[in-house]
Amino acid sequence: MIQKVLIANRGEIAARIIRSCQKMGIRTVAVYSDADQNAPYVKMADEGYLIGPPRVNESYLNVDKIVAAAKDSGADAIHPGYGFLSENEDFVKRCQDEGLIFIGPSSDVIKQMGSKIAARKAMQQAGVPVVPGTDGAVASLEEAMETAQSIGYPVMLKASAGGGGIGMQIVASEDELAKAFENNSKRALTFFGDGSMFIEKKLENARHIEIQILADQHGNVIHLFERECSIQRRNQKVIEEAPSAFISEKTRKQMGEAAINAAIALRYSNAGTIEFLVDENENFYFLEMNTRIQVEHPVTEEITGLDIVEQQLKIAQGERLHFTQEDIKINGHAMEARIYAEDPVTFFPSPGHITKFDIPTGKAVRNELAVTEKSDVTPFYDPMIGKLIVRGETRQESISLLKQALAQYKIEGIKTNIPMLLKVVDLEQFKMGNTTTDFVQKHYLPLVQTN
């Protein structure tokens, strides 16, 4: 049994993990950088260890410091949260070598899912549909053109090592491809040290819909239905909801089964998420697998009544799942809005000092927070300062609860995306459920850029 967990993370997710540990009677150890000394999550933990200067390479990515803190504190397990070291195969191996339980899957699975090309191959073998495109990097512009020709324009040009939308571009013609190929390859080389590119079919009017799974170490796998996360800016999610208003019961079942098959084929254990793109005809295609807790996990918790972090801890200590697929039911509709410290129109980060911080309250409202009044939002980490989650009986009720709660949210001293969120939830297209991944460009930006 796990007695003490070190949380190798910060912000709202560290606080979230500490809450589940406390509920289960597990002691907690926080680690923090110089920039996070006064962060709420540090105060919540039983113990705290300063692990270095603000820059992530010297603190939250510093494996030696984190392992030393785990040893000094007598922790027997490490929860990685999301981001940072959560999908780092070397860190998982190091934990094993040090006799620490890593709350997550094996290093092999992480390695496989971390490579876009290897992940695609594994999914094809498991019988999960993938987006039409190249199975590996294209060697030259000529090869890129041939591939694009055969799958048909428009195509997505992507950097193999890419992330955060960098090195990625939609191309509609051969001319555009010729221009974009070299630029993006060069940019990917600057950013990731790897300029190799691959090509995928650009799906029209696609939605981002993902399946949450739970898999124990004894081969039992269930899914917790889907989350729709199509409202994005800069290829990052902004509003998520469960269930999806778009897919039919039949598609829901097929996607759930595909996700379970993938997890079984990978011999996966832990909570995990299989992300899909779903086209206008409800065809779904594998996008990527996240082998960790997801930012938007609360919407699934709200409709299933399960505590996913608690499940992760139980799985990590070798317990079997206590329920079967038939036990899991969708109850109501939940939505999450991510609160970002950023300009609501350009989406550029806005670090600074928070002078006023009033959050919404109420029975249907759940807040996950990284900051409080008087917090400094530093330029060193992700701009997400909180998550606002609501649960209603129907999607319509969820939307009106979210709208009310957003209107109560008052943050001063920094810019936030709250004005954007308020506009989005009020758009007719959003209310109708026309939530495709180009929603922000198509329906929100024209509204604010003409003003």
């Binding site: 600057t190 950013f191 980060p349 670090p351 330029p379 701009p383």
Partner: protein, 69 residues
Amino acid sequence: MELKANMAGNVWKITVNQGDKVESGQDVVILESMKMEIPIAAEEAGTVAELKVNEGDFVNEGDVIAVID
């Protein structure tokens, strides 16, 4: 022409040298803030007359990064 920072953050990389010829749309510096890297590109073709920042510097929104003639 002055090239300005469009967000607060650290100068992550400078991709040109003083005296270099740059094309319109070419990256001059890459800013980094909150896990986001934002390339700042030249708006017009020209020569880099002056670089006002060093890698690792912190800049505020609106600060001049480079002068391009």
